[in-house]
Symmetry: C2
Subunit: 136 residues, 2 copies
Amino acid sequence: MNNTRFATALHILTLLADSKEVWCSSEWIAGSINVNPVVVRRELGVLGAAGLVQTRKGKTGGATLAKRASDITMDKVYLAVKNSEVLGKRNHKTNAKCPIGKDINEKLDTLFTSIDQRVVTELSSKTLESFVAEFH
Amino acid sequence: MNNTRFATALHILTLLADSKEVWCSSEWIAGSINVNPVVVRRELGVLGAAGLVQTRKGKTGGATLAKRASDITMDKVYLAVKNSEVLGKRNHKTNAKCPIGKDINEKLDTLFTSIDQRVVTELSSKTLESFVAEFH
DNA sequence: TTTATTGTAACACATTTTATTACATTAATA
DNA sequence: TATTAATGTAATAAAATGTGTTACAATAAA
């Protein structure tokens, strides 16, 4: 991950969990993160698809959590936004005539997947609720 | 990590561990990975700085492992090439007037660091020797 | 009807990653 | 000594990814 998507998503969720306003607008959220509201709406769409937030259109529209903060674990956030593996990419055109080049991607798959899984497992023990509690 | 540096570095090390040639040229290594030899030489420089390989200039120059494959663990490879954290970047200009925006990067630091550390620990139990053995 | 919002497309700009060219330096060897 | 084949590294180009912005249709409250 060489982007701000996890940080942005968790920031959004933290605001929603902490806010007394039920429906938070993308503009208000964007003001806390200091990014463009469109970026927030895009990420809200992703978090909505993952079942973590709900959004409402129209005047008085906005976003709210779709579950209790104690039921939102960090692995769900991570899986919603991740678009690369922890150990990165493979080289795709490795030499099929070389014994190593021929099979390395298959071996890397196993390694990369196990490391990714370890991160997910670690994140699954951390809830949004306990993260938000750190701010008080 | 949204790049091929770990895959490239491990590919290089696997070739060096497996090769009967003592000094492998960057061009020969590049032929197995199917990348430009300059990319290989750059990564060899990084692996050399990490104490994992040795290189030699001049005709009959090339690269070789600096230690036994059983003494090279994956965490050393990862730390040599990593240039981003597992959970990505933070948003740098968060709103200091917002209770969440004000402190979130400090909280993210803790989380990001602990996840990175978990990955390193996991990789530290995997040796180059056992990775190479998978090819036989 | 007006107003404030989401959802999304389209495009612009910035950053990161990878490939390539060029060449000085090094060291073996004919 | 001259030739050859390698590393080391700078510079630049090209491709891929990430972020910001504008625009506007659709929605729903007042």
